[in-house]
Amino acid sequence: MRYAMAIDTRRCVGCSDCVVACQTENKVPVGYCRDWIVEEMSGKYPLLSLEIRSERCNHCADAPCVRSCPTSASHYEDGGIVMVTHEECIGCKACIASCPYDARFVHPEGYVDKCTFCLHRVKDGLKPACVSVCPTHAMIFGDLDDANSEISKILQSRTHKSLIPEAGTKPHVFYLL
């Protein structure tokens, strides 16, 4: 089992629904978020291009946050999902400093928080909240170890990239181009 997410930049309109759906599903306090939208424009008028991405924790296979956590609060769950055990977190922020994606924040209750790929939903056979809500069906979630999964197939057929590959963290959120 190796969970991953693919985000189709052709379909995504950057509406931020994934952000609100995550906030309400996971009761993320107002002012914080576990996922966010980036619009990257390039070119000069009138030859322009725009890439819109929904970003979050990349659930890296070689996660610097897990390595840097002194209490092992940051750890891998089954399927490679990177999680933070809240009660083991001492709020030292070493993980925040080590994450190349700026995906983590200190929750007002004191522990470090971030995207969980909605592990609680995935265990029940549901998709993460952001994937379920996305109006344009721009997000695909699934198991890379299953060659027949939607995500395995789409990553085989479509050009894709991951963010900051040079950090060498083996990210598991992919962007379809």
Binding site: D8, R10, R11, C12, V13, G14, C15, S16, D17, V19, V20, A21, Q23, T24, E25, V30, G31, Y32, C33, W36, V38, M41, G43, K44, Y45, P46, L48, S49, L50, I52, H86, E87, C89, I90, G91, C92, K93, I96, D102, F105, V106, P108, E109, G110, Y111, T116, L119, H120, R121, K123, D124, A129, S132, V133, C134, P135, T136, H137, A138
Partner: protein, 740 residues
């Protein structure tokens, strides 16, 4: 990225004062799950309740479920059986809980105690508020007649006040969504095809092979089902042609982006018609069988060559031809999107009609990939007596004007409220339901002048929006999550009915509009028009007429019904259109009869003076104008707007990205301060901002003075002589950087 800034700030705060470890443990007391209990099991031990609703955050009215976990509001998700949302809400609908939790909500009825606009009110009981209103209504009816009261409405609860006003004897019921938004579009399509486009639009984007967007920023306007279909079409390889002075989200997904010079769209549309006729790219069989006036159209556009359009639009002739051929290639699965907010330059009915004519030539009306034939549920009406005859209406204030306005003009009623010597009766009372007229109608100072002439202003709202500040009586409505409302019967490919039931008890001393109107009817002796004992009984009566019941609807939320017609025209079938000729009118006999151009013609509009830029405005996907900018969940996504400025213009004025400026228009009207977004994504002759920001009402604490309100800069209005739409894109602004 503001959220990152907040994160960094938080780190700084922690670092300065307390040890992270201390915070980490002491703050955790509230959250200590038992050993070994994972999140999934936590959820299973919770009590989950779900209630059917349809959304009221915008007027797409998607149906969904409101979830409560352990007695606390949790989340709202779409209902998979709903064709408007297909089970997926947009960010606004997902963030709908913020409307319920907003601490700034109106909480109890208020009655004005000092002069209008001073915003000094006293708390009142519902009885006091209703007595006050009923007394004034009786006085107005006796002195001037019941027609002197008007209703401005936008939203589900307005229907009960419509009922009340009609029973009282007034037909002066206006929605700004007509004369300030999609009125010209509806009239243009009625003139051409005998039917309007309606809402949700009957566009078959899902099956389109070529989509032309001219005045539509799909994806930034988050009309849910339509955005879903647009993205699906893009993913399936549809050719998108986007005409927009701004590189919109949709433009970024397009094969062609035509950054047209603003105000010249009609010239481009006429040139396209010219090429499509000249190169015989149109659907000959369809045009032959169903349309009227092809030769007259051909003659009329004979001079509108791409070369003619080039200096007007700045779009090169070969691009005009190439895009016309692209449209022709996919006939009839090519759609010229009809747009939605089309009140731009005062010749809007004609401009939209040029697009409608293109659709007719391409054979897309009633065809797969063009416009489908919508179906709608027909419910039995709850029994009530006939309304009394109404003797006067708003039209009498405008003799001979706007002959083809099929609905009342909100702007027209507002203007006819300001007393003039030549008019024997002006409006004396307004009910305003769910529409913040100060930000909705252009020329806000005129709206205020009209308000000052009123004997009665009743505002029914959820938030203390600007208009509430001018009210005599404010009636606080509960949110859509706390009330029943009428059955939703949206037009779609298949007819459906949807239920809105209260998920939560109304907070504070707020009530549903249905209850308010019924209570008022009792005081006016009109209770026979609200004959239901309970609203449940009223709903059940209607649901039973289509083979379901309130009980069943509570379980399913949405019910799909059988349609009585196919969604596309049948090949070769004869159809009669509701136009005078019974055909699709390329040449409009109705317009000819009223002395308007029967085929659209291009008229030049004023251009910005030196140092000024055309003010364009639009939408952001996470907001519905000013009604969501105070929503805590949605304000968190976007809490102020920016003015988009081309880098060349920014250089000329020495403007830096993210600095604040004040905008001043051609008449010296000034905006609140607004951040500059320096971007290549806009032409050098226009600026752009999202509408709905810059609230001046301090009681809306989250949105107060955040960003600028374009309405304050719309002092020039170009009226559409055909139907009275208020063209609002003829305003030009310049930058003021001092004292920001």
């Amino acid at each position: 990225m503001p959220e990152n800034m907040r994160r960094r700030e938080f780190i700084k705060i922690l670092g300065a004062g307390m040890g992270g470890a201390l915070v980490g443990t002491s703050f955790l007391k509230g959250f200590t799950p038992p050993e070994g209990l994972n999140a999934s099991e936590l959820l299973k031990n919770s009590t989950i309740k779900k209630t059917a609703t349809y959304c009221e955050i915008c007027f797409w009215k998607c149906a969904g479920w409101v979830y409560e976990k352990d007695g606390q509001p949790w989340k709202i998700v779409g209902n998979p059986d709903d064709p408007s949302s297909n089970g997926r809400f947009c960010p606004r609908g997902t963030g709908g809980l913020g409307a319920y939790t907003d601490p700034d909500r109106l909480k109890t009825p208020l009655i004005r105690t000092e002069e209008r606009g001073k915003q000094v009110f006293r708390e009142a009981t519902w009885d006091e508020a209703f007595d006050y209103i009923a007394d004034k209504m009786k006085m107005i009816s006796e002195k001037w007649g019941p027609e002197c009261i008007a209703l401005f409405t936008h939203g589900s609860g307005g229907d009960y006040f419509k009922n009340l006003l009609k029973a009282y004897g007034s037909n002066n019921i206006a929605a700004p969504s007509y004369a300030q938004c999609r009125g010209p579009r509806e009239e243009a399509y009625v003139l051409t095809f005998g039917e309007g486009v309606d809402s949700p639009e009957r566009t078959d984007l899902l099956n389109s092979k070529c989509i032309v967007l001219i005045g539509s920023h799909i994806g930034e306007n988050m009309h849910n089902g339509q955005v879903q279909e647009f993205s699906e079409a893009v993913a399936n390889g549809a050719s998108v042609i986007t005409v927009d002075p701004r590189f919109s989200t949709a433009a970024s997904k397009s094969k062609y982006w035509l950054p047209i010079k603003p105000a010249t769209d009609t010239a481009l549309l006429l040139a396209w018609i010219h090429v499509i006729i000249e190169e015989e790219l149109y659907d000959k069989e369809y045009v032959e069988k169903y349309t009227y006036g092809f030769d007259l159209l051909k003659e009329s556009v004979s001079q509108n060559t791409p070369e003619w359009a080039y200096p007007i639009t700045t779009i090169k002739p070969h691009i005009i031809r190439e895009t016309a051929r692209e449209m022709g290639k996919h006939v009839p699965a090519t759609i010229i999107h009809p747009g939605r907010h089309v009140t731009w330059y005062g010749d809007d009915t004609q401009r939209v009609r040029a697009g409608a004519i293109l659709n007719a030539l391409l054979g897309s009306w009633g065809r797969r990939g063009g416009f489908f034939v919508p179906a709608k549920a027909h419910l039995a009406k709850y029994p009530m007596p006939k309304f009394p005859d109404s003797h006067k209406d708003w039209r009498q204030a405008y003799p001979g004007k706007y002959p083809l306005a099929s609905l009342a003009l909100a702007s027209g009623i507002c203007d006819a409220t300001i007393p003039t010597p030549e008019r024997d009766c002006s409006f004396k009372g307004w009910f305003v339901y769910g529409t913040n007229l100060i930000q909705t109608l252009p020329q806000p100072e005129k709206t205020i002048e009209a308000i000052q002439a009123l004997e009665l202003l009743v505002v029914i709202d959820i938030l203390p929006s600007e208009i509430t500040g001018w009210a005599d009586v404010i009636l606080p409505e509960c949110t859509y999550l706390e009330r029943y409302d009428d059955v939703r019967v949206s037009p779609a490919r298949i007819p459906t009915v949807a239920l809105r039931a209260p998920a939560f008890e109304p907070q504070f001393n707020t009530k549903p509009a249905s209850w308010m109107a019924k209570e008022l009817s009792k005081r006016l002796g009109l209770e026979q028009y609200f004959a239901w004992e309970t609203f449940e009984e009223y709903l059940d009566y209607q649901f039973k007429s289509v083979g379901t019941s309130l009980e069943e609807m509570k379980q399913i939320g949405v019910k799909k019904l059988e349609s009585d017609h196919p969604i596309y025209f049948l090949n070769g079938e004869d159809y009669e259109f509701s136009t005078p000729t019974g055909k699709i009118e390329l040449y409009s006999t109705t317009l000819a009869e009223h002395g308007f151009d029967p085929v659209p013609k291009y008229t030049a509009h004023p251009e910005p003076p030196e140092g000024f830029y055309r003010l364009l405005y639009g939408r952001a996907p996470m907001h519905t104008f000013g009604r969501t900018t105070n929503n805590p969940l949605l304000a968190d996504l976007m809490d102020e707007n920016e003015v988009w400025v081309n880098p060349k213009v920014a250089n000329k004025w020495g403007l830096h990205h993210q600095q604040y400026v004040i905008l001043e228009n051609q008449d010296g009207k000034r905006s609140n301060k607004i951040r500059v977004k320096v971007t290549e994504r806009i032409r050098h002759d226009a600026v752009y901002m999202v509408h709905g920001f810059g609230h001046t009402q301090s009681k809306m604490r989250r949105s107060y003075m955040k960003g600028a309100d374009d309405t304050q800069l719309i002092s020039r209005v170009d009226l559409d002589p055909i139907m009275g739409g208020t063209g609002m894109r003829g305003n030009f602004v310049t930058f003021k950087t001092e004292a920001v």
